[in-house]
Amino acid sequence: MRRDPDTIDRRDFLRSGLGLAGLAVAGAGGLVRPAAASLSVRPERVRLRELGIAIGILPTGEFNAITDVAGVSVGHATVIRGDGPLQAGEGPVRTGVTAILPHDGDLAQERLFAADFTLNGNGELTGVGVIRRTGLLATPIFFTNTSSVGAVYDAGLECMLEADPELFGRRPRPEPVVGETWADFLNDTAGRHVGREQVAAAIADGAGGPVAEGCVGGGTGMRAYGFKAGIGTASRQAPGPGKGYVVGAIVQANHGRRDQLVVDGVPVGREIPDLLPQPGLLPAAADGTGGAGNSLLIAIATDAPLLPVQLRRLGKRAAIGMGRTGGISAHGSGDLFLAFSTANRMREGDRAAVPLASDRHITGLHLAVVEAVEEAILNALTMAYTMTGRDANTIHALPLDRLVAVMRAHGRLK
């Protein structure tokens, strides 16, 4: 179910090269399109591979997205509203919510094996307690901004209750999985502008195929390495029995200092030291962090039939993917990762035997996670556009022409 199926075919729209992630879909109150004027001046943003930069050695899936794992869908609701001085509770608003739906069935009744990994704990990912206890994921995964976690949790629960009035009779009791990163430089954090309407819209927007990236959904107000960032995704085909396995990653990137940024082994951040986040109306409020962001959320999906103990190992490898883009997981960062397997749908009380993978092929899955996470973070950077938010603060996009020039200078592009 799309919110505006008559006027926008989302897939065609994205393929047209105009995949401007900040486009909020008409028809849902409170959501507005970015001003037409800013659309017209926005340089085209593309995915990393479209620049000729390919990470790693494994082949990607069809869409190079987490949705290449069969059954996984992703939807966004983006809220971009207002300009000028911050008026707490009013705006300007640069936020949203991203919903990752692990499969297309009834999640509360058909749970998936899952595990989380905390690289640095200064963040929130609700619902991991029950996942640690039971190893089962029973809900969508939501990414949003810090101040909206409670509202998204509540709204997510409400949507789940509508779909399944018996939800609280289920054991284990499903708890919404909601992660956050901090968008305060552009967004009216105190206003808590994401609620029931946006959560329902993000779920309804959920679809397979291409995934909108950059300044979209929960990633709308985010930055990484001092550049505008947000949502990014990628996938890999890993060796395994039969047709092998698929691994997909989706990130909400809001981490890292500029001088740390590495693209495919090249220290791009040191080559582009300018274009740091730029204070607008209140120069005294410059964040003084050298453009540092904080926090990185990652969800990893695979169709390999893994157990929680194995999925936890995949989750750890997401840290290596982040490290290859230069991040060090700073003290202030909430670097929280969740991995799930779509292979086995576990029904309450069901004792059927399920296929399980041994550790024989897990090294290939580790590589797939590392590569997919690395590329997903870089896609978040190359797809996000320059955004001005509250108090006219601006976060610049990674300039793609300069990125290409740096890669050429390092002999990584012809």
């Binding site: 190893g135 157990l307 190992r313 576990m346 029904r347 009380g349 035997a353 296929p355 041994s358 024989r360």
Partner: protein, 339 residues
């Protein structure tokens, strides 16, 4: 003497034929006693699968007091969730020597030392809190001793002051090692068996099936000094590592209920494994035990851990148990129940 010889029991689940960890098919246990005029100590080994078996890893899960100490092999056990080594309960001072002996065992099985043929060794270091001379333990509990304790493992489990129980003290009394089991659990008719090394405990807290004995056993012995509580749990239920962690954790309930896990406990660990092999090769099918079916297994761990502690106490020489005179137990329980 065992608890059931006194017509006493813990809980309502059925014990296995031996009422011991070896009721779980394929599991063997054995002791090696080290005795000199100045030394009473030993080793206890649990073989999770039959000796001579080919490469095979088993799923494992662990619970511990305060994060635990004194357990080797944790890297693989916690990251992969598997073990393939025998578990040897050893005096802490001899843990390195015993580890060395288990490496020898692993190398004999596979010169490449793989995680499915005995590597890494699982040594549970036990703080005996006793007067054994460290040098005597380290020289007496060597590679040879490890080979002997592994060779001694079988279906019969000797309790009390044997093996690692030789120098232990619980509830102010000698001992020791105890074991118990529960069978016919859940829809798979699964078995849970455990063996433990009991240390510590205040006789004032001792309870049989929840009934305190203190009012009826006077005078009370002074508490045992806190040592290491270590429980090894085996099951033939096809549990996965996360579930085995939870099963191990349920032993804490039993240990607290019988009175041995208390505020002064410093070291306590429970390790649970499933005898259903972990997937190997290209993987395979495995039954997953659903959430509600875990409950009888948890209950079994709670009951068996209490009974094993009481068995450890009773198996030690009754003449030396002082105020905990065994013959008074049934009457004490009867009086406690009537109050």
């Amino acid at each position: 003497m065992r608890l059931r010889d006194l017509d006493l029991s813990v809980g309502g689940l059925q014990p296995g034929r031996r009422n011991a960890i070896t009721d779980v098919r394929g599991v063997a246990a054995g002791h090696l006693d080290l005795r000199t005029p100045a030394t009473a100590s030993g080793l206890t080994a649990i073989l999770p699968h039959p000796a001579g078996l080919g490469p095979q890893a088993l799923f494992v899960g662990r619970w511990s007091v305060d994060g635990g100490e004194g357990l080797t092999g944790l890297g693989v056990a916690e990251d992969f969730g598997t073990i393939s080594s025998p578990l040897v309960l050893a005096p802490a001072v001899a843990a390195g020597a015993v580890y060395h002996g288990l490496i020898r065992y692993g190398l004999d099985r596979d010169p490449g030392l793989s995680t499915s043929t005995g590597w890494p060794p699982l040594v549970v270091a036990i703080d005996e809190s006793a007067g054994n001379a460290p040098a005597a333990l380290r020289s007496g509990l060597d590679v040879e001793a490890v080979a002997r304790v592994l060779a001694a493992a079988g279906a019969e489990v000797v309790e009390g002051t044997s093996g690692i129980g030789s120098a232990l003290s619980s509830f102010g009394c000698p001992g020791g090692v105890g074991s118990a089991s529960r069978v016919d659990l859940g829809p798979g008719n699964w078995t849970v068996g455990l063996l433990l090394a009991a240390s510590g405990g205040d006789p004032g807290n001792l309870a049989v099936d929840g009934y305190p004995l203190r009012s009826h056993l006077q005078p009370l012995n002074p508490p045992s000094p806190p040592g290491t509580l270590a429980v090894v749990v085996a099951t033939d239920a096809p549990l996965i590592p996360l579930q085995l962690q939870r099963l191990a954790g349920r032993c804490a309930i039993g240990l607290a209920r019988v009175g041995i896990l208390d505020a002064v406990t410093r070291e306590g660990v429970a390790i649970a494994f499933s005898t259903v092999p972990a997937p190997d090769g290209d993987g395979g099918e495995r039954e997953i035990v659903p959430e509600p079916d875990l409950e009888p297994l948890f209950q079994a761990a709670i009951e068996a851990s209490q009974e094993a502690v009481l068995n450890a106490l009773l198996a030690a020489d009754p003449a030396t148990t002082g105020a905990l005179s065994v013959q008074d137990w049934p009457e004490a329980v009867r009086l406690s129940r009537s109050q």
